[in-house]
């Protein structure tokens, strides 16, 4: 039954891989962000689990160290990581809003098509400019 004691760590591994898979495989940018969030949340679980002991209480010293206490440090560390996760998500969503404004889609393959068209346009504009220059010169 030892594996049951490591239940949190199995969940961590499963969530981590699910998150990476979603972030890499989905074409929809919003779903990618959801995948990233699941991935980051799995790491929160790893840190928080590592600080907990069965029967441990909060580390508030009242009358000496007579009871088991949970390690507060990983919990504090992960607060920072949660804040970082929120910041990353908000920047990602802000970028998605601007991508939607620029290309009118949030699907990766459609964006790639739009970018190819945009690049062709740039080449044509350059070619036209060259032609104008040649006409002016002549």
């Amino acid at each position: 039954m030892q594996w049951l004691g490591q239940f949190n760590y199995y969940v961590f591994a499963i969530l981590m891989m699910a998150g990476i898979y979603i972030a890499m495989s989905r074409g929809n940018l919003v779903k990618k962000v959801v995948g990233l969030n699941i991935f980051q949340a799995s790491v929160f679980l790893l840190y928080i689990s590592s600080g907990k002991i069965w029967g441990g209480t909060a580390p508030i010293l009242t009358d000496g160290l007579d009871r088991d206490i949970s390690n507060p440090l990983p919990h504090v560390l992960i607060l920072t990581a949660i804040v970082v996760g929120i910041a990353t998500t908000s920047i990602a969503l802000a970028l998605i809003v601007r991508i939607k404004e620029a290309y009118d889609t949030v699907e990766e393959d459609e964006i790639a098509e739009a970018e190819t068209l945009y690049e062709q346009e740039l080449v044509e504009i350059d070619a036209a400019r060259m032609n104008d220059a040649r006409v002016d010169g002549a």
Binding site: L36, V84, D126, R129, D132, R134
Partner: protein
């Protein structure tokens, strides 16, 4: 060195904290400066102060040895320690120096490429990015590295997306996904190390890892850390975010990032690989460092070959960066004092060289409005000073003698030759890759000097505010190519101290 809580405030004693705190506090102030050129002037002032601090710190380290600064007066390993030895003092100097040189250049480039009402936010992000990179470099605490890494990454996404080119948005998003994966991998690695040792202080980690080093958890931690860091410094095959990120961002951002961001990540790799894992016997059997070699070789071959086939100058330079990262990884992968010296010297030399090249490309973008190679026809006649600087810095990229690029390749080849037959093969590959560099630099020279300008639109030489930083870096390539005393000696000391802590 003690904190000055009881002895009053002493500026010199608190320089390590100020190195990070000055740009961090300056960034929000910058967002309030909405008048014309205000944010720029303020960022320049802050960069100058930060550069002065970095120079002073390097001098202190070189004369008095390692500086250990206790954040808030809490002694390590409980408190966060800022620990400055030769290697990170050197990286601090590179990062703050490049920021100081790139900012004068940024004035005109940003005016053209970033909307006027966003300038205060742009320079605030610049300062935050600077703060993050300096923090990664200066701190002696593994979790602190992650926090500063995310500060610099988040502001980098903003900087890349701040231009007018819509392709920059997708480039920034792509970088965000890969960058977050990389940073979170580093977080997992640090977490596993903390679970096994109960400490986050890097020196303390190295001490305590010994007894538990032969466990799956520590090996997994090492794997997560290396993969995470490799994602951040765009080592092949994790390089996909880099070409678009550098090519479509505003020119000044490409200069700043290409010269600093990857260097800082290389430093983090050095720190973990040598200071933390270096002394562990269980890892000696794995030939930990050598795992990098195949990726390093693939990086400089693929990077150089891909650079030859690019149609856009900035993308060409970005692919060349991937190749140069390969050289640095090769030096580190060899794991000998000479190899490390070569890798560290190349960090410095490549910062100068690629900074100059991206500056020249940005100046051409400002005058011509495009960096597609066909549009650069005759640029050698219309923009003689910019193009000449580009060609001279290009020589340094190739590794022509008298340039700094030659110095780093020289040491790299020497280090490779110490490895017998495999070494000859490695040295041959480095030389082959240099020939590829000749091809892609020559493509630009050919278009710039041997084709007639299209005529029509009048192309003007770049403004003086761009030419001066460009020439400063270009001449730097030659100064440090002839006077190797500073860069090579510091790099050798840094390499020896990295290996010295290890063994």
């Amino acid at each position: 060195m003690s904190t000055a809580t009881h002895a009053g405030f002493s500026l010199l004693a608190n320089l390590p904290a100020l190195q990070v705190v000055v740009p961090m506090v300056a960034a929000p102030i910058c967002t309030f400066l909405r008048f014309r050129n205000g944010p720029w002037a303020f960022a320049l002032l802050v960069s100058a102060a930060v550069f002065w601090i970095a120079v002073t710190l390097l001098q202190q380290v070189l004369t008095h040895g390692v500086i250990s600064y206790e954040m808030g007066g809490w002694a390590p390993p409980i408190g966060i320690e800022y620990r400055i030895d030769e290697i990170n003092a050197f990286v601090l100097l590179i990062v703050s120096g490049i920021s100081l040189v790139a900012l004068p250049y940024a004035l005109r480039s940003v005016e053209r490429e970033v909307p006027q009402d966003k300038h205060h936010l742009f320079y605030a992000a610049w300062l935050l990015c600077l703060c993050g990179m300096l923090g990664i470099t200066i701190t002696g605490d593994a979790f602190n590295i992650f926090v500063f890494l995310e500060i610099s990454s988040l502001s980098t996404y903003m900087l890349i997306a701040s231009g007018r080119d819509p392709r920059a948005l997708t480039a920034a998003f792509q970088y965000l996904v890969l960058g977050t994966l990389g940073a979170t991998f580093i977080l997992i690695g640090v977490g596993l190390l903390y679970i096994m040792t109960g400490t986050l202080n890097i020196i303390d980690l190295a001490d305590r890892l010994g007894p538990v080093s032969d466990t799956t958890s520590v090996r997994a931690a090492a794997a997560f850390l290396i993969v995470g860091i490799a994602l951040k410094f765009a080592l092949f095959p994790a390089h996909f975010w880099l070409p678009n990120g550098y090519a479509y961002s505003p020119s000044a951002v490409a200069v700043f990032l290409s010269a600093t961001a990857t260097k800082v990540s290389v430093y983090v790799l050095l720190r973990f690989e040598f200071t933390v894992f270096g002394g562990i016997e269980a890892f000696d059997d794995l030939h930990f460092a050598r795992l990098l070699l195949p990726f390093a070789i693939a990086a400089f071959l693929v990077g150089s070959i891909a650079a030859i086939f690019q149609t856009d100058l900035k993308r060409l330079l970005a692919w060349s960066s991937i190749a140069q990262i390969g050289y640095m990884a090769l030096g580190i992968g060899l794991g000998t004092p000479d190899g490390l010296t070569a890798g560290i010297v190349h960090m410095f030399n490549h910062a100068l060289t690629k900074g100059a090249l991206f500056m020249a490309a940005g100046a051409m973008f400002l005058s011509i409005g495009s960096t597609r190679i066909t549009n650069l026809a005759g640029v050698g006649k219309t923009m003689p000073f910019t193009t000449l600087a580009f060609v001279l810095a290009g020589f340094s990229l190739i590794g022509v003698p008298t340039t700094s690029g030659f110095i780093s390749k020289w040491y790299l080849v020497l280090a490779a030759l110490q490895h017998g037959n495999a070494g000859y093969f490695l040295a041959g590959l480095v030389l082959f890759s240099s020939i590829l560099a000749v091809i892609y630099i020559w493509r630009i020279v050919e278009v710039a000097y041997f084709r007639e300008p299209a005529g029509g639109a009048v192309v003007k030489e770049a403004p003086l505010s761009m030419l001066l930083p460009l020439w400063a870096l270009t001449l730097g390539c030659y100064f440090f190519g002839l006077e190797t005393h500073y860069s090579v000696d510091i790099a050798r000391q840094a390499a020896e101290s990295l290996l010295g802590i290890a063994r």
